[in-house]
């Protein structure tokens, strides 16, 4: 049995350790205090980020509504309840917060688990949704989303919009403690033209691909262009630009994008495969054949797809030469116009039936 006084002293030391950002409770704050990054502004507050007070359990929709609105798409929390709130859990999952941001045509980006990165994004003008855990014990977690909108390095605090409080300055060590409990998880919601300052190419590319898959093609094209502006030789950026242009029926842009990808990434079977497809559709069959052959020669996990492309191009070439032969056979026919018009519809279904037969074999 320790004396009451000793326990009180221990408690006091723990609290002061927490508040001073001691290395074992809030290691990153401690490091920041020891060595402040010179290029980081001392004080930032994004006052333009709106505030939506949270109703019981709805901190997910509220936090998301603030971030989505700040990114330029006005929404209210009620709009998002159906997209992120899980009644049985009385809360919102992280992955659904990401998915719901994408459903609004925005980029959802998970930050690296670093206090400094969070501050850098704030300095660049982007608020962050953070997941905190106030639970006193591991077996009694109290998870909560809030939006960090600013910081003050002199006072060593962050400014949060949380629950019913639109502006809640929180000591940085305390914030780090509750944030650290969930592995420093935070996400940004960004308009498609803006790349996070702390982003890595791989992670940002994955975020844009996810947006493309969500069906927001025009916005993902903007984001791919932003990605290429930051990382000009990104294969994902070049391929993404080509794929989205293709999906938007802009074959010219698609061809240019895949050409660039194939030239700069000579080992990418996907680049040559897609280039071959676009060239084939634009009836540049010789070029398409060369690209498809190169794609197959590169092998790799996409071989079934590249082989199928090559087969299709070969059939197209065969159909085209058959057409030419047909035309050559009847040079004397004075009415030339109907002949090719007849030949084209005849050739098309022919190649289609052939493709169906050969596909399983490939």
């Amino acid at each position: 049995m320790y004396s009451f006084k000793a326990r009180l002293t221990a408690g006091f030391i723990f609290l002061s350790a927490l508040l001073s950002g001691c290395s074992f409770i809030a290691p990153q704050t401690y490091a920041l205090k020891e060595k402040r990054p010179a290029d980081l502004p001392r004080r930032v507050e994004l006052t333009e980020v709106p505030f939506y007070p949270q109703d019981d359990y709805y901190c997910g929709p509220s936090a998301l509504a603030m971030a989505v609105t700040a990114a330029g798409v006005p929404v209210v929390p009620e709009d998002l309840v159906d997209q992120v709130y899980l009644p049985g859990r009385k809360g919102s999952l992280q992955v659904e917060m990401l998915a719901a941001a994408r459903r609004r045509g925005l980029i959802a980006y998970e930050l690296a688990p670093r206090v400094e990165d969070l501050l850098r994004e704030l300095a660049a003008g982007t608020p962050a949704i953070v997941l905190e855990n106030f639970g006193p014990f591991k077996w009694y977690p109290i998870w909560h989303y809030s939006v960090v909108v600013g910081y003050d390095l002199d006072r060593l605090e962050v400014i949060r919009r949380s629950g019913k409080r639109p502006r809640l300055p929180t000591p940085l060590p305390v914030f780090e403690k509750i944030w650290r409990e969930e592995d420093y998880w935070s996400m940004l919601v960004l308009p498609p033209e803006r790349v996070p300052v702390t982003a890595t190419e791989t992670k940002y590319a994955a975020a844009v691909v996810a947006l493309e898959q969500s069906g927001h093609l025009k916005n993902s094209l903007i984001a791919y262009n932003a990605l290429l502006k930051r990382w000009p030789d990104s294969l994902t950026g070049q391929m993404g630009r080509g794929n989205v242009a293709y999906a938007l029926h802009d074959l010219e842009t698609a061809e240019a994008a895949f050409k660039q990808a194939a030239q700069e990434h000579t080992d990418s079977a996907a680049a040559f495969n897609n280039l071959a497809n676009v060239l084939g559709e634009r009836n540049k069959l010789n070029e398409a054949l060369a690209a498809a052959e190169k794609a197959v020669a590169l092998g790799g996990p996409m071989l079934p797809a590249t082989e199928a492309t090559l087969e299709e191009i070969r059939q197209k070439i065969a159909a085209a030469s058959a057409e030419d032969a047909l035309r050559a056979q009847k040079p004397a026919v004075p009415v030339a116009a109907p002949a090719p018009a007849q030949a084209t519809p005849a050739a098309k279904p022919k190649s289609k039936t052939r493709k169906k037969k050969t596909a399983p074999a490939a």
Partner: protein, 118 residues
């Protein structure tokens, strides 16, 4: 329950029969470019399908309608689905109501009292 497992197994059989032949000539998606070579090789369509239905089922069990559950699963990437499949019950779900705060407060105060005066 029996009906459900029957349905799932039938869907599985269908997917196993159909999926191997679904590779066709055409464009390779950007997502496949991103996935690393090993991830490509490990990609198991059947497993992906299972985790997808699993998440959807869990969503329904947690109070979503079938159509909302499907819509929300569709909004997730395969990586995200893999991240949550099978553990939706235990993953963090940000909520923090005022009731939660009260309970936490009572627990903390109770423990302090117990700690000092036991």
């Amino acid at each position: 329950m029996k009906f459900l497992s029957k349905l799932i197994s039938q869907l599985l059989i269908l997917s196993m029969v159909v999926l191997p032949f679904s590779t066709q000539a055409g464009m390779i998606g950007t997502d496949q470019v991103v996935a690393s070579a090993t991830a490509q090789a490990n990609r198991d369509k059947v497993r992906e399908f299972v985790s997808r239905t699993d998440v959807q089922k869990q969503f329904e069990a947690l109070g979503l309608t079938a159509s909302t559950a499907a819509e929300r699963v569709n909004a997730m990437t395969q990586d995200e689905i893999n991240r949550v499949a099978g553990k939706i019950d235990s993953l963090p779900a940000g909520a923090s109501s005022s009731t939660g705060w009260w309970i936490a407060g009572v627990i903390v105060v109770g423990l302090i009292i117990w700690y000092f005066w036991k």
